[in-house]
Symmetry: C2
Subunit: 337 residues, 2 copies
DNA sequence: GGTTAGCACTTAGGTATGTCGAGTGCTAAC
DNA sequence: GTTAGCACTCGACATACCTAAGTGCTAACC
């Protein structure tokens, strides 16, 4: 029993199963792939593969389907990168032209990726590390409610309503704005927390409490801002591949809707900052995704923000991985300098 | 054959069917509801109702289920408003306290509504008609790309990247900003289009082209901005009530994802600006929603923005309508003055 | 006229049964 | 290590049958 052939058999099983979504048997295997041996030999190989936990049989006299572990081996060692088709390249190119708002770019990107892969696509908002303070705005909405807006020179705009503990007249708010802006304009967002303290300290004591509240708000804006949001598209693709989620797509939809779950999953996945990372079935930390796989990678200057695809474990990994990687590269380029 | 009893029979059929999701027959009907007549009489009534197209039988020897027309009559004439439970009132109250950002309010609201109704909830961003210009910001991102931000005194913040046709130095952009802001601060957003022309006209001729581009951008920000966006929650509820969508929930998810479809639907529905409007099954202009109903109403000062719920035609209309109305009132109050 | 009882008729759905085919595991021979 | 052959297992499918629910209709009833 040759080891290379065994891997070849696993590859064939994965490919056939992904293609036909039906358990694949020894006979069909030798017919479709020209392995130079008989079905009996393949049966022996398959028994070995089953012993190793790489494939499994749904019932006694059915063919085999890959296990999560089998997919894992396939992804890690066997699969070859599948280049994108010309049409796909063209679709990405076409998208590049209509570049507009950041929101717009991400929206288009995620739709494209969903369409390319026929799956659910997810894009995390990028966090722009090199950003500096461009403008700060305070707007008094109600007696103690101030809308604060932080604009970075990268185009990032964040807003939040802040409760201040004291009544301030309109012009006092304007003065605070001037004070903050004068001191902080050009400050890198990463340094904002330290510098904010100095600004607060240099305020009139009377206005210290309000300034403190505003500073905390700005700090939150700079830090926790948009990189904890995401956009997605293609949920309808889940319904089409209904068969692939034996139980129900309910838990999957729940996971997608609880963005926190998805974001944590995405950030935990990417140990390898360059290549595409795959999380398969029960490898996912969230139970609702036990029958799903996520293919993701980073993009942007630091590859910190993630873009990915979610689909059934029975997924065309090579193609999906190629699409995710291509789209991530494109995103990096369009958002780059 | 008495007309009032016929309506009573329809009411009973709708209620039973919504409850049991199974076709309801004449015998079960007389048992569950104490109509003072025999099953044979009910059969006659049901035959009449079927002739009028209000109910239908899935097959010869099954009970009847309501048609879209039947639901329509039920909603319009029969159903009584079902008051919310104390627990539900409490849930809404609790939400009222953590009011924060507008984004945050809408997000919480839509989640709450989804949970209350066990359905998909949708909220359209409000357009704030009385808004005035609070601040305008231009940020030069790249040689000919300007990020423009429009802040209204209502807390609305809109941004967009604008291509200007000429190279401008940083300080020229800043000067333009000052010029725009000085002339337009306090202008109601509705008057922005006219006033912008005057501002452009008063610019240095050299900078006219850039000013023109920026003006168009601002106009777009003021007009087409957020009221064409929406938030939704509870898509997982679709999967749970899988049975209710015989074909697939795919088309429904598609409709939800194509926000344009939903937004048009919502805006077309609300002829009646005060009450809750219902669109049932094939009444929906979009084919994918042929098996779905939408319950919606307006909220906010002019009731122009919409909040609603989408579910299967087999839906508990009285409860859903009550929830939508309550949430809309709550939203109006929290966003009001 | 509206209401009721009774009855023949229709049909979905469940269950028992048989057949077919795909697929496996094992053994013995190559 | 590979192959052919064979007995065995089970799911999928088809058939037949039965039951329960429900209808429509007719004739009697108030």
């Amino acid at each position: 029993m040759s080891e290379p052939r065994k891997l070849e058999v696993l590859r064939a099983i994965v490919e056939d199963y992904v293609h036909s979504r039906e358990p694949v048997g020894s006979k069909a295997l030798v017919e479709r792939h020209h392995l130079g041996v008989s079905s009996a030999t393949i049966r022996n190989d398959m028994a070995a593969l089953e012993d190793e936990g790489l494939i499994t049989a749904p019932h006694t006299s059915a063919g085999r389907i890959p296990t999560d572990k089998g997919y894992r081996l396939f992804v890690d060692q066997i699969s070859a990168v599948k280049p994108l088709s010309a049409a796909e390249r063209r679709a990405i190119q076409a998208l590049l032209e209509g570049s507009d708002d950041l929101d717009d770019v991400l929206d288009r990107t995620v739709r494209l990726l969903a369409q390319l892969t026929n799956q659910v696509a997810v894009v995390q908002y990028p966090l722009l590390g090199r950003a500096r303070v461009r403008h700060i705005e305070f707007v008094l909405l109600a007696p103690r409610k101030v809308l604060s807006v932080l604009i970075a020179d990268t185009g990032k705009v964040e807003q939040r309503i802040i409760d201040i503990a004291q009544d301030l007249p309109d012009d006092a708010v304007a003065e605070l704005r001037g004070h903050f802006l004068g001191s902080l304009s050009g400050t890198p967002l990463t340094l904002l927390p330290q510098n904010l303290q100095a600004v607060v300290a240099s305020c009139q004591p009377l206005r210290r409490p309000a300034a403190q509240a505003l500073a905390r708000g700005l700090e939150a804006l700079a830090a926790s801002s948009r990189e904890d949001r995401m956009v997605m598209a293609g949920t309808a693709n889940l319904a089409r591949s209904n068969v692939d989620f034996p139980l129900s797509i309910g838990p999957v939809l729940e996971a997608l809707e609880e963005q926190v779950v998805m974001l944590r999953l995405l950030s935990e996945m990417a140990q390898d900052p360059r290549g595409v990372t795959v999380s398969i079935g029960r490898e996912n930390p969230y139970d609702g995704l036990a029958e799903a796989s996520v293919v993701a990678t980073g993009y942007g200057p630091d590859a910190t923000a993630k873009v990915g695809v979610l689909g059934p474990t029975r997924m065309d990994y090579p193609t999906t991985m190629a699409a995710v990687r291509a789209v991530a590269r494109y995103l990096s380029r369009i958002l780059g300098p």
